[in-house]
Symmetry: C2
Subunit: 227 residues, 2 copies
Amino acid sequence: MDRVPLEQKVLSENDRLAAALRARFAERRVLCLNLISSPGAGKTSLLEKTLERLDPGERVAVLTGDIQTDNDARRLARFGFPVRQITTGGTCHLDARMIERSLTGWRPDAFDLLFIENVGNLVCPTSYDLGEAAKVVVLSVTEGEDKPLKYPGIFHRSSLMVLNKIDLLPYVPFDPDAAEANARRVHPGLEALRVSTLTGEGFDGWLAWLRAQRERHAQAATAPLAG
Amino acid sequence: MDRVPLEQKVLSENDRLAAALRARFAERRVLCLNLISSPGAGKTSLLEKTLERLDPGERVAVLTGDIQTDNDARRLARFGFPVRQITTGGTCHLDARMIERSLTGWRPDAFDLLFIENVGNLVCPTSYDLGEAAKVVVLSVTEGEDKPLKYPGIFHRSSLMVLNKIDLLPYVPFDPDAAEANARRVHPGLEALRVSTLTGEGFDGWLAWLRAQRERHAQAATAPLAG
């Protein structure tokens, strides 16, 4: 028995489910973003600050993944938007079937923006399509500017790199320009933003990026119906 | 075809190879430590500062794992101790076969302390025994004190938690006592040390821990021969 064909079978089954999710999101005009990072880079904090600044009337939902605990869902639920925890129980990534199951029972019109916070892991989540419109990689300035070269997969597949914890730049040996240059060696068209989820610095840029994605996605979703 | 039996087969094959490595290390009185952390928590920096402070006459070697690049081997080689890079090319962890292959050609008496720096990943490396005497988990204070609860596997299986980047404690919302308490909820007997690989703070404790492990290991290795 060889491992590679089985991994390919698992991934191709995942791709099939992800394609069905993507079609469902398109039909319902939902923008789905898959947030990926190392443990502790600030995915949950980014979402907290984002939900805090969104209008309570916005139709936004969050699925948040972890190996154990529902800490993140509890942190995120206090902003009033629908949040569900996916506890993988040991699995190092989310997969499309977990997303499909977690969406059960949510009204089709409950949200038009869905954040998926993946398990903290820069490697494995990269290979599992969740039907998202875009992957967003969060890198913190404490991790070192070489990380895009050492973990190229996720930087290659992401649409945006959010460089977080810029409030710590005075205290760590980290060159944000070098980090962005390294990321663009892996992925020349990668967009990049700098934020601090602690101080809120840079959030106007992040919220503007989100708005632009939502508008673009709504137009793209409308186009085939009009054509 | 089911995935679980295959994963078990892969893991049990790895366990067999790891047991052979462990026997080989015991025979040659080599203390092998497997360092595991998130990307950017400071494994390489910990090793840099350690090699810098060791006597050049000590018989110490390093195997360092990454998905891509040989940056770490180059960083570590400048201290004069033998260092080899293992580039996994996408695999999210080191396994016993990679270690066995990387040891080829090294003289049996080349070292009595072998550091293995795993791929940056708090999840997958946990399941792969490399024949080490102990796993050491490195957690940085920028990652949040909840990480032992969210990634319990590695904290459960490690002998020591090195809490790194304590120089950043004034600037981050992190309670080191809570982090240690969380780690001990998962693993009551876990030893813990606090260091800064940037300033060198806490390194006396880390070097003392290393010395104690080496002495204990040398005695344990000697005992059966004397028995």
